[in-house]
Subunit: 367 residues, 2 copies
């Protein structure tokens, strides 16, 4: 284990205010992690992310493996150094993108064969290979290689998918334990090296989720994630699955729900005891002109904002709201200007990070 | 006149180190002005431009007239306020874009009828209308409405074009003098209001250039520009035209060569006595991956930079060179990431602004 997780306050509802000490950064949790798929949080420079208070960002194994290649990144000292990000990083295992970007993938017990979405070339991810790639990238946290159960999935499909995920989790862990010290920054951070999180799958079947969680905990990962939620199911069901799994996970390790969600969701789950979340929503929506604000959603393309001199969110203190008007942001979007994506993204990230900051304060004071 | 131009040093070659006091900003000259066509220097936020030391940027009358519309910008307090730029601005008259973006334009003595490149709608720019639009935008400096002589142009065509430019210069000045106090910020900067620069045309004919310059000076503009250079002619000819015109312009007013140029050109012209220059080159080239550096041009797309951990320019102290490698910039470009355009542009602008800073220091110390 190359992390420590110090809880400073807990609420009756299960929410936790904690510090997650990772090799490159101590992260205040609950935390929202901006997604930086290709080694960049789209349209936002690293110093701006730092100023917004982002302490940990995501990278994506699938994309970085294909371009520029993990061997190349390793030769240049790992992902932190390659993209000049000094704080914490987490890489997803690549599985999710193989499943979402490849219609022609072929799954066997060994792993997944797929074609590059860039040039059609054929590639194979096994749990061992995903670990090797993630170790070469050298994030603070790597993720086990899992099979992503689609929604809806019938019981038989969910069971079969879970069987693969469990076998792959075991192989991921074994390979990672044997090679984790090969991260590019090995030795530079004392004894610290890369952490590996297990991923709870099981579709929308509570007993499968429970079974998965229990087995993963037995294997003893450095942290635990829940994937396969917020994929089209009703919100109640998402919440039910999270509530079912959380009590089964060790209290003294971080809990991560992957790929969620809307502003009210991330607050709700944080209050239930989820410590980490990530989602492309704030960044992707921003590029399409959808801003999240204290007054609800603002579609900045709307004509009603053409001469609106108010900031995107009058209650927001982010660099965009302090300086620019809705009218200007609308103009940038209408004109197809690159600055549009940048400013919209900065605001949405500030809004998401601000929610988590508020929740952390609330949890610290007991509620 | 709403500017003062204080020369602190002059060289034997004619170069001048000066301060140009404009309503919104005192500008150190010689100055390079980043181009912000649609109310944004493409891909770079205003606070970053400020940090780079940009004291004056351009806006474009043609683009802003079509979208979002000058009346709308006026209602929102003018262009400075609309885009949140507190320093100086200059707007071009729209003529150049009408000529370069409209194959089907129709020129009469009255003005130019053209079709919008956005929706094909029909519009007319006259000198009076261009002044009205520029006054509504409210930059510190407006430009006379000129006809842009193409290159090459035979003598007859150059003469005819010049006849129009001169008639339009007179009408521009007359209308501007009568309405300049209608800028949106009138009264907010003491007596100061908008300045108008005349534009020397005349193709590659020195006698036409001379004739144009003399007549414009007689009209008494607030400053003088030279347009229609760097349009494909040999560099010697550009230099000859500038050398021919500069001595005819009043010493105590700023001299502006429009639309130049490469790094060595802007240095050369500044040393000849040109006070202001603008060009899309550093910003446009950046978006195509061409970086200007102290070691020459770097095409960041080249494979040779795939694992090059050096900064774009080892001698540059800009925020990009201080933090990122050529390998990372290449990756961003290959991956089609928005951050590519942003970082490349920041470096190129820093390089251009740095050249001018160095030239100013050199001129101040006599050479």
């Amino acid at each position: 284990m190359s992390l420590t997780f110090e809880i400073s306050a807990e609420t009756a509802a299960g929410g936790r205010r904690a510090e997650l000490h990772l090799p490159h950064q101590t992260v205040q949790t609950p935390v929202f992690m901006p997604v930086g798929t290709q080694g960049t949080v789209k349209a936002v420079a690293q110093d701006v992310l730092e100023a917004l208070g982002a302490e940990i960002i995501l990278g994506n194994t699938y994309h970085l493996y294909l371009r520029p290649g993990h061997a190349s990144i390793r030769r240049m000292g790992g992902l932190h150094r390659f993209i000049s990000w000094r704080r914490a990083m987490l890489t997803d295992s690549g599985g999710f993108q193989v499943f979402s970007l490849n219609a022609l993938r072929k799954v066997t017990d060994d792993g997944v064969r797929f074609r590059s979405h860039l040039d059609g070339s054929s590639h194979m991810f096994t749990p061992e290979h995903s670990m090797d790639v993630q170790i070469a990238l050298g994030a603070d946290i790597a993720m086990a290689f899992d099979e992503c159960t689609e929604y809806p999935a019938d019981r038989k499909r969910a069971e079969e998918s879970l069987r693969l995920t469990m076998a792959w989790a075991r192989r991921s862990l074994e390979h990672h334990r044997a090679h984790r010290h090969e991260v590019p920054w090995n030795g530079a951070r004392g004894e610290a090296t890369q952490n590996l999180f297990g991923i709870v799958q099981g579709g929308m079947y509570t007993d499968l989720r429970r079974q998965c969680a229990e087995q993963l905990v037995e294997m003893d990962f450095d942290g635990y994630a829940i994937r396969g939620l917020s994929v089209g199911e009703p919100r109640d069901l998402t919440q039910e699955m999270i509530a079912e799994v959380l009590p089964l996970l060790p209290k003294d390790k971080p809990r991560y729900v992957m790929g969620v969600g809307y502003p009210d969701e991330i607050e709700q789950y944080a209050r239930m005891g989820v410590d980490m979340m990530d989602c492309v929503l704030p960044t992707r929506a921003a590029r399409h002109g959808l801003l999240f604000t204290s007054q609800g959603r603002v579609n900045i393309k709307n004509k009603q904002y053409a001469e609106d001199e108010n900031p995107p969110d009058p209650e927001c203190g982010c660099p965009v709201c302090r300086r620019y008007s809705r009218a200007y942001l609308r103009h940038l979007m209408q004109a197809g200007e690159a600055l549009s994506g940048t400013l919209n993204t900065i605001h949405n990230l500030a809004y998401y990070l601000g929610i988590m900051e508020r929740v952390r304060g609330s949890l610290a004071s007991g509620g």
